[in-house]
Point group: C2
Chain length 333, copies 2
Amino acid sequence: MVTLKDIARQAGVSIMTVSRVMNDQQGKVSPQTAEKVRRIAEEMGYIPNSSARSLAARSSKIIAVILRDEPAVNPLEIPYNSAFLGRIIRILPAYGYSIMVHFVKDFSDITFWLKSWNAQGAVFLGIFDREIRQIRSDNQIPLIFTDSYSNVRRIDNVGIDDYRGGQLAAECFLSHGHTCLAFAGPISTGVISERLQGFSDALQSAGHPLSREQTHAFPDRSAEEILRTILKSDPRPTGLFVTSDDFAAEFYSAAAKCRISIPEDLSLIGFDDFPISKTLVPPLTTIRQDIDEKARQTCRILLDRLKNPGSPTENLCLDVALTERKSVKECNP
Amino acid sequence: MVTLKDIARQAGVSIMTVSRVMNDQQGKVSPQTAEKVRRIAEEMGYIPNSSARSLAARSSKIIAVILRDEPAVNPLEIPYNSAFLGRIIRILPAYGYSIMVHFVKDFSDITFWLKSWNAQGAVFLGIFDREIRQIRSDNQIPLIFTDSYSNVRRIDNVGIDDYRGGQLAAECFLSHGHTCLAFAGPISTGVISERLQGFSDALQSAGHPLSREQTHAFPDRSAEEILRTILKSDPRPTGLFVTSDDFAAEFYSAAAKCRISIPEDLSLIGFDDFPISKTLVPPLTTIRQDIDEKARQTCRILLDRLKNPGSPTENLCLDVALTERKSVKECNP
DNA sequence: CTGAAAGCGCTTACAG
DNA sequence: CTGAAAGCGCTTACAG
């Protein structure tokens, strides 16, 4: 292993001079010396020891990505999570950061991992609303949350307009003449209840309120069960809003099993606009969110906060849009 | 920040004693002292500094997961990669390891990240066949490859019987009376060319060789293009083997566009047996690989090698199996 | 512009 | 069973 000491000896300077060159503190080292040191470091294949740097400078260049781990499903098998993580890993290393990924069940693990590695900052994926206050007070580093509906005011967060997403879905159904509708998704979480609220409010103000019986808890109940319930209902919904594209895919499959046709017998709107929505037959009408932009903004805020810890917190709400495809039929009453 | 020193002072012992207790070197510390130190550490909320430990002990407790980054598609948006990574992250932290994830375009980055963080070991996802020799010689730590068809003999690798997978697909088609078949996938990689070879060999020995024209490069050409080519062919293939389930999904979509029915007009077999294959309509017949087992074996070998660097390398080949669903029709000639 | 000293929080190796 | 010393590879803070 090549160390500063080895280079210093070769170059006939002190390790401080080498250290300065390696950290690009130009102006503090004469150009000739800098050039020479750089050349020798290159020749010897010098690679800085991050642990030593982290220890001495109290600056680890590690960003932790924390994902909530639920037993039922691996966090990285949720397409949204893996897409988001993938984007982040394409951005931050360009700024010299390394990414550590942690799944947490118990939130006290968070502090352990962050402190143990002296992480410089962290990005949170999944619902941590109830623990945010505690996490914040335990860890005095930049923490960027995503999709949080916590009422803690001073947090950095990047989310989308879930409420508006619900509205858009309702408006789309209404404009195609649908008046009796249904909703399916994991209702308990903040994100989803906003989508439901937007959906429900828009229907309400159009005079076609969403009934309680047509608010279905998925995946607690299977797509097929929910579908059969819908088909037996009176009045019978003609459209179903599902809170993600991969969930919607399961309803396509259930529809085939029940021998009903999309959109003829039931229209469908999804959420996310993932690649799968184009692939479904018929292609899925869905509410688009811009994951790429979301990841970029998350990294930007993190990088800002790292430079400038005192600046005001940001709670971003990105817009969503309707991507219209073929899963909503024209309803002529 | 609480350090060994703080605890030592409180407990009235030296930091060495505290260090021994923290590292569970039982038998080297009197039970009473150990108990007392443990209690005080707990009370003070002690969290070991991993950087300091890494520096002093030359043992970082970091495992790097290296994914090949191609510009066209984010590595974590390939369902196989994110599922595999997800499994690994559920296993290794239980042994005290932290996971760093790196995307690499240029393989010289690998050595930089591994050495800079003094990683204890690394797992590779994606094709590194050509660089394996170099990576090996640059990094004298346990490196576990996956799905490698490198001819370097002494490497740890966990793969599956891709050749057999191809055979199984062929046998399934043949047993349902199909004799004119087609193949689609990214042919250039080792994994895929094995699947192709197995498929092609099995057809050959059954007297129904796969024609060159029916070996399609996907996704270089789109599913729709390939499908149209197949439909125009004479003789016209009745079955298509696609090298992954998510690719197969695109052929379902293309089939709908071309107004042909699966499996009536074209039968399909996929690969992986991902959740999506159950959701497709009709459900996809596919070659199952056990990702969970693959991840477990990868971690087991890594952990073994970490304990016992000298033990012989392992190159595991896991079995695959046919999962029969509804996308292959009975062909009566 | 350059360097000697001290120290980051821990472990290794030795002495008792 | 316990501890004093030295050192891991780097940076901070100071002196010149």
